[in-house]
Amino acid sequence: MVCEQLIDLLVIGAGPAGLAAAIAAKEEGISSLLVLEREKEPGGILRQCIHNGFGLHRFSEELTGPEYAARDIARAHELEIPIECDTTVLSVSPDRQVTCVSPKHGFRRFSAKAIILAMGCRERPRGALCTPGTRCAGIYSAGTAQRFVNLEGYMPGKRVVILGSGDIGLIMARRMTLQGAKVLACVEIMPYSSGLNRNIVQCLDDYGIPLYLSHTVTEIRGRDRLEGITVSEVDSNRNPIPGSEIRFDCDTLLLSCGLIPENELSQGAGVEISPLTSGAVVRETFETSVPGIFACGNVLHVHDLVDHVSNESFKAGRAAAAYIRSASSAETDTADVWKVQDGAGVRGTVPQMISKHPSSDVDLMFRPSAVFRNASAVVECDGVEILRKKSLIFTPGEMAVLTLKKALLDTLSGSCIEVRMEGGSSRG
């Protein structure tokens, strides 16, 4: 017989999202809480991100990943927040029952008043790309290679091509180079990079690593270990152009082709998932479609900067605390919420719903669907412009954030808030 433990708040994941959410909830007075983490230490993926550049927004300092995580871990310890590591959550039910397992505590069942989902994301593997060729050793997702190098102390290979220009791939191009490997190329199927501009400059340009835009890997060779790949240019429909093949002799191919929020547990709990973000559909409190279940960080939508993850997760933690105190969700009547819609040139705006009379300012987070230069992001409420932000460039590689002030929202009625891009679009 498995006993059931009652608890106010269960946080799943002790990466930056889970830590921030737990800290905020504890600061709001929630003392019956527990953070569950599957790895042996808290910190999440930051543990293997030993490069710097973290914390510029939040701390006005350039920290490494472990340094950034250490600050939240220290704060969590200070607040005496229990974090149980080496513990994997197996299921979450719609009525907030959670089962988990660990070598130390065995199989356990919790019943929580609120749950914060903070499981992060995973990398898109080769299978998702359907790249033809052999299935030899030497093909890794960039994050797996990062773990081998930074946590285990091993080099996965010596002559490297990187497919995809996501941030982890760019960071690994520099990391492998610094460790003595030859990085031959970074290959991106889109006409623009999906990584941050600063990473293109600091990780590719500074080391003379060529970036092939509108190119992809069309063949993988090697029986045992990778021996080489073929890269082809693609047309505007992303189909390879015959005759454009370039062959590379390499022993390693790193894939940095996108991140997917890891929502298997959320789906088990019946949480509605957006096909655009692959994360939960949430309101401005980060509460999902299932009452009392909140989501934040990369499990909700993939961020570029951990600072934004923490910021979002503090809000989710506070909202979960408010939910536990009042034991009720915000109003569910559709007349009392705005539906948030993606307009032209915009993809995956979060949150998808905003309560009328929210308790604080609301950040609208989204990605433009292409590169826009000298353009504006425009927010409309039932067709009336309420906010406009101009920028020299909006790119899919950088999440845009528009803050709707509470004071402004309090003056509005209507039923729909739409975000769209306006002005000079270009794909290059």
């Binding site: 017989m1 498995v2 599957r38 080496d86 994997t88 197996l90 089962t99 397992v101 660990s102 070598p103 130390k104 505590h105 065995g106 199989f107 069942r109 995973r122 990398e123 593997p125 080769r126 299978g127 998702a128 359907c130 033809p132 060729g133 052999t134 299935r135 030899c136 050793a137 890794y140 997702s141 994050g143 797996t144 773990r147 081998f148 190098v149 946590l151 285990e152 102390g153 091993y154 080099m155 996965p156 290979g157 010596k158 460790q179 003595g180 490997a181 069309t218 993988i220 060779r221 029986r223 045992d224 270990r225 390879p240 022993d251 390693t252 890891e262 298997e264 789906q267």
Partner: protein, 486 residues
């Protein structure tokens, strides 16, 4: 030099099924394979269908062994603890010519002794499988068709054989075979020399090459590659049965089928290639699957694809299995050309070969057998109560290594400690499913490599993905910088 009674060359489904039969006899038996593990050839890369037996021409070896073998599967899987599901199959047709072909298949099936075959109207077919192309005109219902994991089957057969005294040895590439004056056979490999009274050629795609080393009646084999898509088990299955299109001269065509693990399989292609070890996928092959499978399943989506793979069929020009003694080579036996329905036929082929060998060597059956250590239920399939017990007995059941397929550290260690244990990352994957899921080992492979290294005492740098030189890692970062900075 290793002396024994019987040497089986090839540890695929035929060789492992035979080894289990031979382990029941009073004889010394070894199984060798060129690859690093059991099931490394066509056995690891086929459709996983236990065919009912309607397809092969009546009177052929294929027809006889298929029907007999398929009937052995439920009992064999039960005693070995291998999942097997009689999900049934539909063969669908789109025009009058197809319907005539289906009527022929029905007749053939009845002659071959297949039970419960029935022709269905369009309406009946669509009622059974609503995701089918509504343009389907007719279908043959095959309730006896089943699915199984072919490599799990081979692992279990090998384990049972090993527990009962058969030895397995890998990375053994046969370089020479000769018959000695005393009538025994000498088999030279890349590693050893074996002297045996009986040798059995179960060498899959190398079957004809080995045969031609010992026989003047030369055989010619065509290497026919089949490529596949494998979709995530999280995706809702569009079909509960295996759906075939009308078979052609090149094979049974492109199928869409659930697997025993709840994934969806699309494929295979049929392309003749020169190199039997060339298991690459190609863009042409993959697009052909999509084109053909979408005729069965118009709403086809490979958005949830987790991997593509291919296997190579061992097709003989004569288009039938050869099972039995090698003519004019006393003491040599063979099972060659074991392409589809080879998986279905293997238990029956093994039974017959074993009887022939027993009679040739006048072998007695062992008086007692060691019971097969049935593999524990996977953690993923356990109830909460079973999980509670499992973790309290072995705390390593409490550590999930593969999050996508929910595989625990305890199960990974068990896979290495099995009688014929895993020695590679892929060996662990196929025995436990760790790395088989949607992240394709992205998170778990470093940990799996670590456990393999601990359990086998192999340095991490020598751990391979799938044998040979498929090393996972190139160097430690320290020594690489010192020695490798050019």
């Amino acid at each position: 030099m290793i002396q024994l009674d019987i040497l089986v060359i090839g540890a695929g489904i035929t060789g492992t099924a035979l080894s289990r039969e031979l382990s029941r006899l009073n004889a010394t038996v070894a199984v060798i394979d060129r690859a690093c593990d059991v099931a490394e050839g066509a056995t690891k890369a086929n459709s996983g269908i236990v065919h009912a037996g309607y397809d092969a021409l009546p009177g052929t070896q294929k027809a006889m062994y298929n029907v007999r073998g398929a009937q052995m599967y439920p009992g064999l899987c039960e005693s070995l603890g291998v999942s097997y599901r009689k999900c049934g199959a539909l063969v669908i047709g789109f025009d009058e010519a197809d319907c005539a072909a289906l009527r022929d298949l029905l007749d053939r099936g009845i002659q071959n002794g297949v039970r419960d075959l029935r022709l269905l109207s369009q309406k009946e077919a669509l009622a059974l499988e609503p995701s089918l192309n509504p343009e389907v005109l007719c279908a043959l219902s095959v309730p006896e068709s089943a699915i199984v994991s072919p490599y799990e089957m081979a692992f279990a057969l090998a384990d049972d054989a090993a527990v009962n005294g058969v030895s397995f040895s890998f990375d053994q590439d046969v370089t020479g075979i000769s018959r000695l004056e005393d009538g025994t056979w000498q088999v030279t490999t890349s590693k050893d020399v074996f002297i045996c009274k009986v040798l059995v050629n179960c060498a899959g795609s190398s079957g004809a090459d080995l045969h031609n080393m010992i026989s003047d009646q030369k055989l010619h084999m065509v290497h026919r590659r089949g490529q596949y898509y494998l979709l995530d088990r999280a995706a809702e299955l569009p079909f509960s049965r295996t759906v075939f299109q009308c078979p052609s001269r090149m094979g049974k065509g492109v199928l869409v089928s659930p697997t025993v693990h709840g994934n969806l399989l699309l494929g295979p292609t049929a392309e003749d290639i020169p190199d039997p070890l060339d298991t690459a996928t190609t863009s042409d092959g993959l697009s052909e699957i999509l084109k053909k499978a979408s005729r069965t399943w118009p709403a086809l989506s490979v958005r949830t694809n987790i991997t593509n793979f291919s296997g190579v069929r061992a097709h003989l020009d004569t288009d039938d299995f050869i099972v039995g003694p090698v003519p004019f080579a006393p003491g040599a036996f063979e099972a060659i050309g074991i392409e589809s329905p080879g998986l279905s036929s293997a238990p029956a082929i093994a039974q017959d070969l074993s009887a022939m060998i027993a009679s040739y060597l006048s072998l007695e059956r062992k008086s007692s057998l060691r019971p097969f250590p049935k593999h524990p239920k996977p953690f993923h399939e356990m109830s909460d109560e079973e999980r509670t017990v499992a973790v309290s007995t072995d705390p390593e059941y409490g550590r999930i290594v593969c999050r996508c397929e929910v595989v625990t550290e305890a199960e990974i260690r068990q896979a290495i400690r099995r009688p014929v244990g895993a020695r590679t990352i892929d060996g662990i994957k196929r025995r436990t499913r760790a790395g088989m899921g949607r992240c394709q080992g992205g998170f778990c492979s470093p940990r799996v490599a670590q456990i393999l290294s601990e359990e086998t005492g192999t340095p991490l740098l020598r751990i391979t993905k799938d044998g040979g030189h498929s090393y996972l890692l190139a160097d430690t970062i320290g020594s690489f910088l010192k020695g490798g900075h050019r």
